[in-house]
Amino acid sequence: MAAREILGKMLEFDTDNHLKNRDDWNEQVAIELAKEEGILELTDRHWLVINFMRKEYMEKGNAPSIRKLTKESGVETKELYSLFPKGPAKKAAKVAGLPKPTGCI
């Protein structure tokens, strides 16, 4: 558990380095979190994925897998990887201020 400063405010992060408190998240925080992941600009396509993830999380209590993102967000896997390089589900969850998806093990 660690706290660090984002936009002048101390925010808490979990052991996976994802935002701990859902209420600390807003669009400005997302832009900062994206920069930490090397994503310099959040386009409409990024926001589509981020908003889908947040909606899923609020409804189901779990951030979706890549397969679910592809199936239901309308963004193809290939594009997901270009928007959120390396691990799209994990990275998009991080920018969306959600815990790491519990897809594995």
Partner: protein, 409 residues
């Protein structure tokens, strides 16, 4: 007569059938098991086939030998579950009604989900080892292989038995060393995960073993397709990794009947309450083993621990008493590491695999997260326990919920 219907007669379905048949009053209950196949496969044994340690006859027995006497067995494919009307439609047009349903239809590999994987040289230079056919084809291939690039790739998580890919790598290292061609074989593990395993402490220890055994590791590789002409696997971000032989752990999905029934998630796994193992949507349906959408490992040990919990909750539910047993996500797995040694891991939803002794604190005889000869003997003996005790629903000398005693943290 009340009717209990069990879909799937694999590890989970067979264990729970044996346990409940023993406990339920046979003058009041009729138990039916549905499965499409007559053969029970000891799936942990598939791993040993490519390296000539087991043959197909070591891993196959008739399913009927393990079902309790007195249950009705229907050999048929399931079309769909009509949960709203408490009935199951079979592909042979038979309709089975139930008072209670237990779904144990498991998970299967789907290599066709990855572009180029089964085109062309499937089971010639691209193999799986999660089916008997795949494992046997790979055994034949290895017999005359003179070396080259061996790539082991996990397509996407979750997979059945998440330690099996690591065991495959360790056994391959030992096999090619014994063949005298280890210096001609480049073993390369390519995974979508950020490390060798999903949990940090085990991932670190297992990653060190890979390095010690000179096995290359590429992480965060999401495979998009196989280019059969160039013999490379290509990621979604266009990285290429060349292979001479590709061993794949394809996408795992639950049974298609779950999809047809509209009861599954994106991988056809059934929404299951993580404590009670009851369906989240239907109070007279329970779910066990690889079929659940829980984050516990998809493994036989998990099915066995779940069976203890489900048994307790089922017997209370049918009497309309509160369900008290809670599943904790407990899994334990032997990990063969080659050269007559093995590791053991023991973990649950909340506690990652830790070092220590198991099952007796401080004594063992098994050592957690450490390579020992005793752990290897444990794995070897386990096949006997599986056929003779576990499938028959008998008690094993381990607790169903995980214990912290004996673990170092």
């Amino acid at each position: 007569m009340k009717k209990l219907l069990i879909l799937g007669g694999g590890t989970a379905g067979t264990i729970i059938a044996n346990k409940l048949h023993e406990a339920l009053d046979q003058s009041k209950w009729h138990i039916t098991i549905v499965d499409k196949s007559e053969t029970h496969y000891y799936q942990p044994g598939f791993l040993f086939i490519p390296f000539g340690i087991y043959t197909s006859k070591d891993v196959m027995k008739p399913k009927r030998d393990f079902y309790p006497r007195g249950v009705e067995v229907v050999i048929a494919e399931i079309d769909k579950i009509d949960a709203g009307n408490n009935r199951v439609l079979l592909k042979n047009n038979q309709i089975l009604s139930y008072d209670y349903l237990i779904i144990a239809t498991g998970t299967h590999i789907h290599p066709e989900e990855t572009e180029g994987l089964i085109d062309g040289n499937w089971h010639k230079d691209k193999f799986d080892f999660y089916t008997l056919e795949g494992a046997c084809a790979l055994q034949n291939f290895f017999k005359s292989w003179e070396g080259g690039k061996l790539v082991l790739n996990i397509v996407e998580m979750p997979i059945k038995c998440p330690v099996a890919p690591l065991e495959f790598l360790f056994l391959a290292d030992a096999y090619f060393t014994n063949m005298g061609i280890r210096d001609k074989v480049d073993i390369h593990f390519v995974t979508p995960l950020p490390g060798a395993f999903t949990k940090p402490i085990a991932s670190g220890i297992l990653g060190d073993i890979l390095e010690k055994k000179n096995i290359r590791l590429t992480t965060e590789f999401g495979i998009a397709r196989v280019d059969n002409e160039k013999k490379v696997i290509v990621s979604w971000d266009e990285q290429e990794i060349p292979y001479d032989v590709l061993v794949t752990i394809p996408t795992n999905k639950g049974d298609s009947a779950i999809e047809r029934s509209g009861m599954g998630n994106e991988f056809n796994y059934v929404a299951t309450d993580k404590d009670t193992l009851r369906s989240k949507n239907f109070p007279n349906i329970f779910v066990i083993g690889d079929t659940t959408d829980l984050t516990s490992s998809k493994a036989g040990s998990v099915a066995h621990f779940e069976a203890e919990i489900l048994y307790d909750n089922f017997l209370n539910a049918v009497e309309e008493r509160p369900m008290r047993a809670k599943f904790d996500g407990h899994a334990n797995c032997f990990i063969e590491s080659g050269f007559g040694k093995g590791l053991l891991i023991d973990f649950n939803f909340d506690v990652e695999p830790l070092p220590g002794k198991y099952p007796l604190p401080g004594i063992g005889p098994f050592s957690l997260l450490q390579e020992t000869k005793m752990n290897h003997y444990g794995k070897v003996m386990f096949r006997w326990m599986y056929w003779n005790l576990l499938l028959r629903g008998q008690e094993l000398p381990v607790t169903s919920n995980m214990t912290m005693a004996g673990k170092r943290y």
